[in-house]
């Protein structure tokens, strides 16, 4: 079977081919959609074939590495242009081509009648190619190529609706696209520094050794440097591995939308909904998690860095969940939810629960893609409205979509036996029992409760009550959109099977890559899972009850959330004997709501957005203005600046050279 190894090349090559064919030949919407979908579908088949080829090999040889050419070779600095296919890559490639293929098919229906369909499908295929390069790269530099490539495709796709002046209030697609790219570039800059540091300290940037080319692998050399320090100027010194990990982590916070660089993701919802599903939920944003898992030997060797990873993951998971509660845009709720769930995954891999992190990455890929696609169906059904206050009561008009959405919501909320329950629970159990960090576990449980709450709220706002803005009747999606939804819904229900406790198909499959010990299940884990699930059910019910029953009448288009304005109705509520209601509102919801509103205000609008994006932006603007004012147009001023330079340089040379 070894002669069949070339098949792994087909995985990235097919979408690239699809991209080229779409660009060069496709002229009609139909042709573009068909070519693009077939290319990704074939790539999915190639992935399965590659797994078969890999599994047919003896166990120690199950890491296929094919080098196409030597990319850079200068002295000791040698970088191959080659693909790597091991178990971790296989899992990622399955997700990318599988979910990606479904989203392609869905897009045929969703993008029907779009003014630029060929462009759209071409970019989608290019994205699949770049994403596959990212996960199949056999060295950091090639990974970086994919990393920037997916960022570029994301940039191009976010701006797809440029002619709609504003998709969501206050967001201009082309500006959102540039913002996404530039924020990501900040992370990428740190990532690039990490690559340079890896090369200069570990002597190679290939993950694994390649005997044929005589290239070393850096991952196995990491433990040697566990105690080596590197100076960081006046701040003293820091462990080399820690420095590398922290720099990579900054890259991860950009790509995987973690605090403090997450602000681009909510705005990225300006793109078409399939793009949000594919890029900004299922695949691209998980690249950071993949990066950490791929470099887990480094992160394991540096407890400091791993601790920072956990802290960032937890803060992100919690803050984003609170922010999701206050959103009215259907896609922004899901965007914040994605950020929060990515925080979950980052926390997991930071704690060393790599299999659990990958597990959650997969199940999240299923149900979040499902939710986005279903949201797309809803948005279509109500004529491109995204504001949930203008929906309501769609349960009867869109029964199929309602059921599908409910499945996705239950899976996201982590309710037994949906996919999200298994993966989320494994992370919580790992936090509590394996690393014995109850604080983290409690934070994760609280977050999952909030998750359940905002999903309950969202389902209630969209599907329950009465239609708040009567218009033309909503319609169910067509077949091209419905079939991918059904498949993803099945995955969201059954996704937990791939890593059921006791079976552990995923963990044992990934074991050769991540070397994680088998988890032993105890009664305590069962109790913890039960508590977490009960809390989630409670949260979901509360969210649903508040917005479908208690406050439903006060949700109006263009008005604040009723829970926020509840203070004025306090007396009447008490007079009417709404004891429980009053209690919930007064003690839990309102302070909490105010708190979360404040947080999302501070951190989203002024705080992190302000400090990191607008703040430096403004400072840079002032500085740029200064540079341009200095450029006065008077040649004698230029000569004066020149002379100042001369004085400095000649003075320095003569003084230093004495």
């Amino acid at each position: 079977m070894s002669d069949l190894r070339w098949v792994i090349w087909l995985i990235p090559a097919l979408p690239l081919l699809g991209f080229l064919v779409t660009v060069l030949l496709a002229r009609s919407e139909r042709a573009a959609g068909l070519i693009a979908s077939v290319a990704v579908g074939l790539s999915f088949v190639a992935t399965i074939a590659s797994i078969a080829v890999m599994q047919s090999l003896p166990e120690e040889a199950r890491r296929l590495n094919i080098v196409l050419w030597e990319w850079i070779s200068v002295g000791a600095f040698r970088v191959s242009f080659g693909v790597l296919f091991d178990q971790l890559t296989a899992v990622m490639a399955l997700l990318i081509t599988g979910v990606g293929g479904l989203i392609h098919i869905y897009s045929i229906g969703y993008m029907h009648g779009d003014s630029r369909p060929v462009r759209f499908f071409a970019y989608l295929n290019l994205f699949i190619f770049a994403m596959l390069m990212l996960v199949m790269a056999d060295n950091l530099l090639l990974l970086f190529l994919g990393w920037e490539g997916v960022g570029l495709c994301s940039f191009l796709l976010i701006g797809h609706y440029f002619d709609r002046r504003s998709v969501a209030p206050g967001i201009v697609p082309s500006e959102a696209a540039v913002k996404a790219f530039v924020v990501n570039r900040v992370g990428d800059a740190a990532f690039l520094l990490a690559i340079i540091l890896v090369f200069s300290r570990l002597g190679s940037i290939s993950f694994f050794p390649n005997e044929a080319l005589g290239i070393n692998g850096y991952l196995e050399r990491a433990p040697e440097l566990a105690f080596t320090q590197v100076g960081i100027g006046f701040l003293g010194s820091i462990g080399v591995i820690t420095a590398i990990c922290l720099l990579m982590l900054i890259g991860v916070t950009g790509k995987s939308a973690q605090v403090p660089l997450y602000t681009w993701l909510p705005d990225a919802m300006a793109g078409p909904t399939p793009v949000s599903a594919l890029i900004h939920a299922a695949t691209m944003v998980t690249a950071g998690v993949y990066l950490i898992v791929r470099n887990h030997t480094l992160f394991s060797a540096s407890p400091t860095a791993a601790g920072v990873v956990v802290a960032i993951g937890l803060v992100t998971a919690f803050l984003a969940a609170t922010a999701a509660i206050t959103q009215f845009d259907i896609k922004r709720v899901l965007a914040y939810s994605t950020i929060s769930q990515l925080g979950y995954m980052v926390t997991a891999v930071g704690m060393g629960a790599y299999a659990a992190g990958m597990f959650h990455l997969l199940t999240h890929g299923f149900f979040k893609a499902l939710l986005f696609l279903a949201a797309g169906a809803i948005i279509h059904a109500v004529h491109e409205t995204q504001d949930m206050r203008r929906m309501g009561g769609l349960k009867d008009e869109l029964p199929t979509t309602f059921r599908i959405y409910a499945i996705g919501a239950l899976a996201l909320a982590g309710i037994f036996p949906f996919a999200g329950f298994w993966s989320k629970d494994e992370i919580i159990a790992h936090a509590w029992f394996t690393v014995q960090n109850p604080g983290a576990a409690v934070a994760l449980i609280v977050t999952s409760m909030l998750t359940a709450f905002y999903m309950g709220r969202q389902v209630a706002l969209i599907f329950y009550g009465k239609r708040r803005e009567p218009g033309t009747p909503a319609h169910e999606p067509g077949n091209a959109m419905r079939i991918p939804l059904f498949i993803l819904a099945a995955a969201a229900v059954l996704g937990g099977l791939i890593n059921l406790p006791g079976v552990h198909w995923l963990s044992s499959f990934l074991e050769p890559v991540i070397h994680e010990p088998e988890v032993v299940y105890t009664l305590g884990m069962g109790i913890l899972a039960t508590i977490a699930t009960l809390l989630s059910i409670g949260g979901a019910y509360l969210g649903w009850w508040l917005y479908a029953r208690a406050l439903a009448g006060r949700v109006r288009p263009g008005r604040d959330d009723p829970a926020l304005r509840y203070l004025g109705d306090l007396w009447r509520g008490a007079e009417l004997g709404w004891g429980f209601d009053w209690f919930y509102q007064r003690v839990i919801v309102r302070p909490y709501r105010n708190f979360s509103q404040t947080l999302s205000d501070v951190f989203d609008r002024q705080g992190i957005d302000g400090i990191l994006v607008a703040g430096p932006g403004r400072i840079l603007g002032v500085l740029a203005h200064g540079v341009r004012v200095a450029q006065s147009g008077f040649v004698r001023n230029y000569a004066l600046a020149f002379l100042i330079g001369v004085v400095v340089l000649v003075g320095y040379f003569t003084l230093a050279g004495r």
Partner: protein, 476 residues
Amino acid sequence: MIEIPPIDWSVVLQLCIIFGGATALLMADLFIPEVRRRVTGYLALAVLAAAAIAGVAPWGCRGHTFSGTIQIDSFSLVLNWIFMLGAAITIVLSFDYLPRHGINRGEYYVMILFAVGGMMLLAQGADLVVLFLGLELLSITLYALAGFAYPRTTSEEAAMKYLLIGAFATGFLVFGIALVYGATGATNLAQIGAVLAEGRIDGENRIYLMAGAAMTVIGLGYKISLVPFHMWTPDVYEGSPTPITAFMSVAGKAAAFAGMTRFLLTALETQREIWVPILAALAAITIVVGNLGALTQQNVKRMLAYSSIGQAGYILLGPLAASERGTEAMLYYLLAYTLTNLAAFGVLIALEARGEAAWNLSDLGGLWQRSPGLAIAMAIAMLSLAGVPPTAGFVAKFAVFTAAWQAGQAVLVFIGVIVSAIAAFYYLRVVAQIFMSEPTREVEISSDRVLAFGIGLSVIAIVLIGVLPARLLNLI
């Protein structure tokens, strides 16, 4: 009877072809009617091609002649090819531009050839006298070319500013050379290096040497737009005819880097601990100022001018590494930058089809709908300038960063990487404008085949040497 030392013609063969060809072309142009002016251009291309081919035979050899004032080695050969490539693409880009702007005069091509000769002198010079001569030959032809579009006032203004600042800088260069000569008694770079290595320089000679070295660096540094000697750059680049802007931003810069590298690494090799810190600081300031200036520009031509200042700062990381790796990285960067900038300016030239300025950011709006080829070319050029893989610009940046990092310039690399992230903003804004907006006003687009060929060639090369740089880097 004066003994004439034997001359090794193979060392100066390329120079002879260029200068001989330029002189012959000047004559020949008199007999070519204006409607057939392209013939002059094609002849100039032939001269360049002949000179480029003449560089194949001596590949791998080292040698010098004219009493050791002119040398040949792989460094100079690679640079000569870069100059000729830059000049050739510039000529191709000019065919359509000149008649549209009413400046279709044959001496244009001749002067480009003479400028290339000056650049080659800078790359091949082993003596301060030759470096000076090369720089001046380059500068004076560029002054004339910058003002070539007279009586357009911006062109005249560009030329005048360039001339005044250039002449001012020449004064410093000559005085610097005089002081270095006074301190060491030599103008030959290798001899200066040898004298300094012996360490016999003290007292007032030491002061002469250091002041002279500083002034020589300034004289070359103004040409690569090192801050604070950069201020002529945006004005001159904006005012000059666009093909000339492209030419001086790439080939002129490469030549100045050649001279700078020769001077620093041959003559001042032993004084490294003196010049490295101050030049590192200047490189950092250059990177920051150049990119800041470009950040809020609405005028794409001017934005590219500021961007070229920033890029010069990055290129300077190569010589600063003072290692073979650093020099290789610099050469690769120069090649990548040459191709990228020519492609970008080529697109601007295509937009100037009506003979008027059409380089506002909004003029690029919706370019994708109007001309997909140009849109893709501009997008790839911008991505390459921003350093996004798999373009040549990324490999180039990565190469200079690793070289500088290994030379211990961690802080500088840090600044460079961070600023390059910010710089993505203004490059990407152009791409966003191209793909994500509607055309604002009707801008006529040139459909000249030769122009399209020149742009296409550059773009393909950008991607090709970005994806397959190994062969090339080995070659260098």
